[in-house]
Symmetry: C2
Subunit: 211 residues, 2 copies
């Protein structure tokens, strides 16, 4: 019943995060009626995402063409993101984050001058995926070489949720020998929030951190 191109679109797009079959169907009809030039633009923009590289240090997506460093000894190319290739950023403070969007949020505050490690979505059962373990190991090795064995600080910038806490304590254990101190983001009442509506734990944290 459905035209073939629509069917193919629905099949593929309904597998993307946050898009179900209904939403994919709606999008398919919407896009197909948008006109040839708009459709071509959408396709081109998707294709453009293949220019995105992954930073070989922090695993952030970037398209920083200027910092492709050829390591002749190991004969590998290092694609460094703008942050990892910026000599002004402190090497010995590393924030471990889940998602690139968290990195963007933290950067916007202009309060962090260290580097990052993007771990990817953490699972709710508090078990690290093998790719996440590899990333933590690569950080450990990097710290050994570049920070004389120990970083100054590792910030575990996971969400302050139950499973964020679970994963953070797991990662803290992994990295306990790699940093002088391991910290989490501060907890408290968000700006604009009301004490009346703060849950007990948040209010407790706000009292602990008062000052």
């Amino acid at each position: 019943m459905l035209p073939d191109p629509i069917k193919k679109f629905i099949d593929l797009f309904s597998k993307l995060p946050g898009i179900g079959p209904r939403q994919a169907t709606r999008l398919a009809f919407h896009i197909s009626s948008a006109g040839k030039s708009n459709i071509e633009e959408l396709a081109k923009i998707i294709y453009g995402l293949s220019d995105i590289k992954t930073c070989s240090l922090c695993f952030t997506s970037h398209n920083n063409a200027g910092y492709e460093i050829r390591n002749t000894r190991e004969n590998t190319k290092k694609n460094l993101c703008p942050i990892c290739s910026n000599p002004q950023r402190r090497k010995d403070i590393i924030a471990i984050i889940e998602k690139e969007t968290d990195l963007i949020s933290i950067e916007r505050t202009k309060k962090f001058n260290g580097r990052y490690l993007v771990l990817g979505d953490l699972k709710k059962d508090g078990v690290l995926e093998s790719v996440q373990k590899l990333r933590l190991n690569s950080l450990k090795n990097w710290i050994k070489k570049e920070c004389a064995g120990q970083a100054d600080e590792i910030v575990l910038a996971m969400n302050p949720t139950t499973y964020g806490d679970l994963n953070a304590s797991l990662i803290a254990n992994e990295l306990k020998d790699s940093a002088k101190k391991i910290t989490r983001l501060g907890r408290g009442i968000p700006t604009g929030g009301e004490i009346e509506f703060a849950d007990e734990e948040t209010l407790g944290a706000a009292l602990d951190k008062r000052g």
Copy 2:
């Protein structure tokens, strides 16, 4: 801060229905890390949507290459969808629907042997858009020519919601001279539903339509 291809993706995709900036950002990073061949496939499938034509009678999306009829007199090409080009379907019963997905739902029942007119999303204020008025007019003209002035039945297959009702009465008024009878879809308790949870209006409709 965001890589340029990601930014472009977010700009464009956050304008699609049901996708906000957050969802677009998430998709951008997800797709960009999916690997070159997957990205190419997505782009190709979007591009494939440009093969979709709009039926010149009912305005359904289709890719029915076989029914492109050249009208030599008017020197226009008519792209007819599989339903409008099917001589087995009754010409004089027309269901007016909002979305193509509604057409698909109705077709699945195999209970309707007429044709359709796709109007596009109706606005909540009960004012028809100019493109919707044009479609209704093209239907009126078509009925005049092909159904000897009047169709047998026009089914206003709008949702049984407040604004669906509002639009339906508006459209009924537009088309009052074009059909012997103008109907709506039956209302009642949905199969599997419970009387206990049916609202008063639904239950009232179910009583009216009992039999």
